[in-house]
Symmetry: C2
Subunit: 210 residues, 2 copies
């Protein structure tokens, strides 16, 4: 192992260190109260380096809000087994959050900032609507495509909020597979079920019409 | 109609004016950046009056976070028609939000502050977990009661977030009855369905076991 110290050769990329520090501070303090100086101090870099990489605080926010994982990659191949797509969505999203503390910190920052700052809210809105729609691709039938994706977004967003942001005990402490079993059919319902007169299958009749 | 003006006799209660102004400012600026002076200015009252009613900013927050509607009253009587309790929950909650702009502003403030301030987060956590559990009362079967209520909370919280806070177009623009039709069965599933090995009814078999 290389010795620990300030940016050793082969150590963490300073750009990544800055992004991590910014995501943490945006999350803790909100966008307005986060200063470039505080980000520099937490990332243990010179403030000039932040300006070099990101120009200003808006540039830093914009970079910090880039999803640490591509939604298209995360949700790829769901159409291989469309009847279990709902469970797969819940399992993969929870796996992403539980798997890597760094990714989780970045996602948490994205949610917190997204709820306190207009620009970031747009990023979050897109993520829960358009991005999910694109990622789900052919799994979603042609009727009410945008509404189906947005409904998936409300349930998954609400789940992440309850489990990781607010920490509602019953949801925070449930084993991931319990949540997959409980919420999977709901996501399946939004993806392919009858959502109000829609000519699509219901939760328990994935290939019929309801 | 009485003439409009500054606090006419029989006009709005100054305590209510202060609470409304505080909820708006907490929502716009977050707890930390909201000052007693700004609340006084927006409510058009003397700052001393705020101290008289609420002592300090924490007291004001605490009062502003009291739900403008009693969840028990809002969700009363669902056990009269337990098979349609899910639809009724969605319809009543949306009715509450759509019905009265003042209530809506207060609720929006509660959500925004709840996501940016620890004390308020506890209020929101309780609302989406324990309060819903109490309000749903006998509709929820004995297995996984807390988890069922919390799951209802994640879906309803996510819906309110998507529709009123973030404004995801497909969810923001959907007619309330479309959302009742799409989300009602989901809430019903969480209330009485099979949520992972639970000995309760599934969405399409409200009185069987799945």
């Amino acid at each position: 192992m290389p010795p620990r110290g300030r940016r050793p050769v082969g150590g963490p990329d300073p750009r990544e260190q800055i992004l991590t520090a910014a995501a943490e501070l945006f999350s803790e303090l909100g966008f307005e109260r986060t200063t470039m100086r505080a980000v520099a101090a937490r990332a243990d870099v010179d403030a000039a380096l932040i300006h070099h990489y990101f120009v200003n605080k808006e540039g830093l926010l914009s970079a910090a809000l880039v999803m640490p994982v591509d939604a298209g990659v995360l949700l790829a191949g769901l159409d291989q087994d469309p009847e279990h797509a709902g469970e797969a969505v819940v399992r993969r999203v929870l796996g992403l959050w539980e798997g890597d503390p760094e990714t989780r910190r970045r996602l948490l920052g994205l949610i917190r900032v997204g709820l306190s700052h207009d620009y970031a809210a747009g990023v979050l809105r897109d993520l829960l609507g358009r991005t999910i729609l694109t990622a789900l691709g052919r799994v979603v039938p042609d009727d009410h495509r945008a509404l189906r994706a947005a409904l998936v977004g409300t349930q998954m967003g609400g789940l992440l909020l309850g489990r990781y942001v607010l920490g509602i005990p019953a949801v925070r402490d449930a084993p991931p597979e319990q949540l997959v079993a409980a919420i999977g059919p709901v996501v399946q319902h939004y993806l392919t079920g009858a959502i109000g007169g829609a000519p699509a299958a219901s939760i328990n009749q994935p290939h019929g019409t309801a």
